[in-house]
């Protein structure tokens, strides 16, 4: 059960689960995502409770939201989920180079999404929809901003893992980390699908 039970060059088929440490990490991360689900669930509830509380003279969600922009962001983020799947597949067949390429693409897409989100927020503030404008605006920025912060964290994290893999290669220490980062990335995507539906689509149709 030691941390370095693999023989160099012969990576096991599922390297992330080859050691007890790795198995613990994957399980622990599933549990962590359970907690994150409650976190976002509570944020969604708060948003739903407050989304019509716009106050006098402030822009409503119907006036603010521009679906094409959000749809583009959604498309970019969903694509990045796909590229992260390819990365994990490459990892499982021990194609380190292709794994790294897919990871780099994932990071770039994530950064692109963030760029669009920052532009979007900037635009809303100009429309008079600041963080302190109304209960709707506070809960909107908190929910979407929390998600954005998660994306930003993921971008940094995966970048770091890429650098580490460049230096140390793929082994039973790095593999669980990459696997877990992949789980995290999917989770962020799923949350975004809900945000897209609950915040933007429902906000547009009223």
């Amino acid at each position: 059960m030691s941390a370095h039970s693999h023989v160099d060059g012969q990576l096991p088929h599922e390297p992330e689960k080859a050691t007890l440490e790795g198995r613990n990490k994957v399980l622990g991360f599933w549990l962590f995502l359970g907690g994150e689900t409650v976190l976002f669930g509570t944020l969604f509830s708060a948003f739903l409770a407050l989304r019509d509380q716009v106050g006098d003279g402030n822009p409503t969600s119907q006036e603010l939201f521009q679906l094409p922009l959000v749809a583009a962001a959604t498309f970019i983020l969903l694509t990045s989920s796909l590229t992260s799947v390819f990365a994990i597949q490459a990892m499982h067949t021990n194609r380190v180079k292709s794994m790294l390429n897919w990871l780099i693409l994932t990071v770039l897409l994530g950064a692109g999404f963030l760029g669009l989100e920052i532009y979007e927020f900037y635009h809303y503030v100009h429309e008079g929809h600041g963080f302190t404008t109304s209960a709707f605006s506070s809960s909107f920025y908190t929910l979407v901003g929390f998600h954005g912060a998660h994306v930003a964290f993921g971008v940094f994290w995966i970048t770091m893992l890429i650098v580490q893999t460049f230096r140390k290669g793929l082994n039973t220490t790095t593999a669980p980390k990459i696997y877990v980062a992949g789980m995290y990335w999917h989770f962020i995507d799923v949350v975004w699908v809900f945000i897209f539906t609950v915040v933007y689509l429902m906000g547009k149709v009223g």
Binding site: L31, G35, L50, T132, T173
Partner: protein, 602 residues
């Protein structure tokens, strides 16, 4: 230094014990000050605003900084041993969890010296806690301190879940797990699903207070009942997070000292799971008087009363375990036996409160105060005492003094009932909770006096416990493996205190009450599941300590709007995370010839 860097779950358990015990003393002191203020009508021992601070900090401290950490102390000390594991799943995170709890607690208490402690009640209800009504920094300390401490709790919960799922010894199926481990398992699951909700509530309140957000600001569309929902969706499960491990302790202690298998083990497991589940379904019983309407009130009323069923199952199982057993009244067992009727009384008043129409009468009176102290002090704290007396030899290698222990028990137990029994009647007579004084001639005087005397007795009981610790720590470490001689579970098969690797060889578990089963077959040790070999250990690390300091600093920056300081603090924390991630640390090995315990052939 060793203590700052340790990742050994047994040492972290001791750290939790020291820190939790320290906060328990602070919370107890606050309680005694509250009771001194209330001992007679129109007293002016403390001012009204100080009273609010004392009351708020007492509740917050006791729940988050005393009760939970003391439970974490027992969990850390015992759970890996009970399941035959060498460690927890994430030793590094375990240490991180401790230090974030600790610095969160320190931050909360710094408020006393920084111009005013939080004063909006431990539930921090808005609008009372809004910037409009609570102008000082007090509530800011509450939201940030609890946030940091909460991170620690969440980490701990995940750690125990992963440990229990992944690291049980061969043969230790779920239905062979000791009852304490079972309750810790369910409690950890509750932590996982309850604490993130609290985190969101605290963030929202923080944004309202520090950055002018409008979550709870009615003038700008906010909603104050939203806070109550979020708080109690966390808060009600929280009370079960607290009580379930105490149930576990009681099960172990009663079964050991009755020299009998726990009666109805599988129904106990079922009841624990059911209580955990129902704990999430009843939060709005704290909000009957908010005006949710008769339908919601009726549903939450019924759901609440349902909890009495699995709780009743547990009570009867304890009674049947004692029935016909050869009971030994050690101090641990006296606390456990004292727990049962006391907790039953708390449960009965709970069911009374669960009736929505009746609750309109009881709500916000001393009746509620009596109810929750019967469950929290009479349940949880008695359970913690029982656990500490029971496992002390395993944690420290020394037996606590039994005579002093019994003095402690009687002082605490009588003091407790004196303090809180009369409060039921104070409540029924209409004494509201959270008032700093009352008029003469309302018939409250005598009972308040009795209550104060009781509180002082509890204080004396606690002092008796402290003396016991001091005296015990001067004696030689000579506790036996199985000092109670009736140990049933795996922790009693290894030396006291447990060596750093816990088990020289992982034991093979062949049934429920694994050790007892071997004893019944005439053996006095477990059959090992593996040959003696090198044992892998995680290396100590200072990073958790520094990371928590980083959060502590960032907290101050946020509160005083010094963004440079906030960023500096976060840089420290994330820098440590980064270091941890890029530096591979494979730990070290203990070789077989270094083991104290020479092992047997597998």
């Amino acid at each position: 230094m060793d203590w700052l860097t340790t990742v050994d779950h047994k040492k972290i358990g001791i750290l939790y014990l020291i820190a939790g015990g320290f906060f328990f003393l602070i919370g107890g002191l606050e309680a005694i000050l509250i009771r001194i203020q209330l001992w007679r009508p129109l007293n002016d021992f403390v001012s009204a605003s100080t009273f609010n601070e004392l009351l708020t900090m007492h509740g917050t401290t006791m729940i988050f900084l005393a009760a939970m950490p003391l439970l974490f102390a027992l969990m850390n000390a015992v759970v890996p041993l009970q399941i035959g594991a060498r460690d927890v799943a994430f030793p590094f995170l375990n240490s991180l969890g401790f230090w974030t709890f600790f610095f969160g607690g320190v931050l909360l208490n710094v408020s006393w010296f920084a111009g005013g402690a939080p004063d909006a009640g431990w539930t921090s209800y808005v609008p009372l806690a809004s910037p409009l009504y609570s102008e000082g920094k007090g509530v800011d300390y509450y939201v940030i301190g609890l946030q940091i401490a909460g991170i620690g709790t969440l980490i701990g919960g995940i750690n125990f879940l992963a440990t229990i799922i992944n690291m049980r010894a061969p043969g230790m199926s779920f239905m062979r797990m000791p009852m304490f481990t079972w309750t810790v398992f369910i409690t950890s699951a509750l932590i996982l699903f309850a604490f993130p909700a609290l985190a969101v509530g605290l963030v929202a309140l923080m944004f309202d207070r520090l950055f002018e957000a409008n979550f709870f600001n009615v003038n700008n569309g906010g909603n104050t009942v939203l806070w109550e929902h979020i708080f109690w969706i966390f808060g009600h499960p929280e009370v079960y997070i607290l009580i379930l491990p105490a149930f576990g302790v009681i099960s172990e202690v009663i079964s050991t000292f009755s020299r009998k298998r726990l009666f109805g083990y599988s129904s106990m497991v079922f009841a624990t799971v059911l209580i955990g589940f129902l704990g999430f379904m009843v939060w709005a019983h704290h909000m009957f008087t908010v005006g949710l309407g008769p339908v919601a009130n009726a549903l939450f009323s019924i759901a609440t009363m349902l909890i009495a069923v699995p709780t009743g199952i547990k009570i009867f199982n304890w009674l049947f375990t004692m029935w016909g057993g050869s009971i030994r009244f050690t101090t641990a067992n006296m606390f456990a036996v004292g727990f049962v009727p006391t907790f039953v009384m708390g449960g009965v008043t709970g069911v009374m409160l669960a009736s929505a129409p009746a609750d309109y009468q009881y709500h916000d009176t001393y009746f509620v105060v009596a109810h929750f102290h019967y469950v929290i002090v009479g349940g949880l704290i008695l359970g913690i005492f029982a656990g500490l007396f029971y496992w002390w030899p395993k944690m420290f290698g020394r037996m606590l003094n039994e005579t002093l222990g019994k003095i402690c028990f009687w002082l605490f137990f009588t003091g407790f009932h004196l303090t809180f029994f009369v409060q039921h009647f104070l409540g029924l007579m209409g004494m509201p909770r959270r008032i700093y004084t009352y008029l003469d001639g309302l018939g409250f005087n005598n009972m308040n006096l009795i209550s104060t005397v009781g509180a002082i007795l509890m204080g004396l009981g606690t002092i008796a416990f402290l003396i016991n610790i001091v005296i015990t720590s001067m004696k030689p470490k000579n506790a036996a493996y199985d000092p109670w001689e009736d140990g049933r579970t795996l922790e009693w098969t290894i030396p006291s205190p447990a060596p750093e690797y816990n088990f020289a060889q992982t034991p093979l578990v062949r049934g429920y009450d694994a050790f007892w089963k071997e004893k019944m077959e005439g053996k006095n040790a477990m059959t090992p599941a593996e040959p003696l070999g090198p044992i892998h250990m995680p290396s100590p690390s200072i990073l958790p300590f520094i990371m928590s300091i980083g959060l502590f600093i960032a907290g101050f920056g946020l509160m005083y709007h010094q963004h440079i300081i906030t960023i500096a603090g976060l840089v420290i924390t994330f820098g440590c995370m980064f270091t941890r991630s890029v530096k591979d640390d494979h730990g070290f090995h203990i070789e077989p010839d270094e083991l104290h315990d020479k092992g047997v052939k597998a």
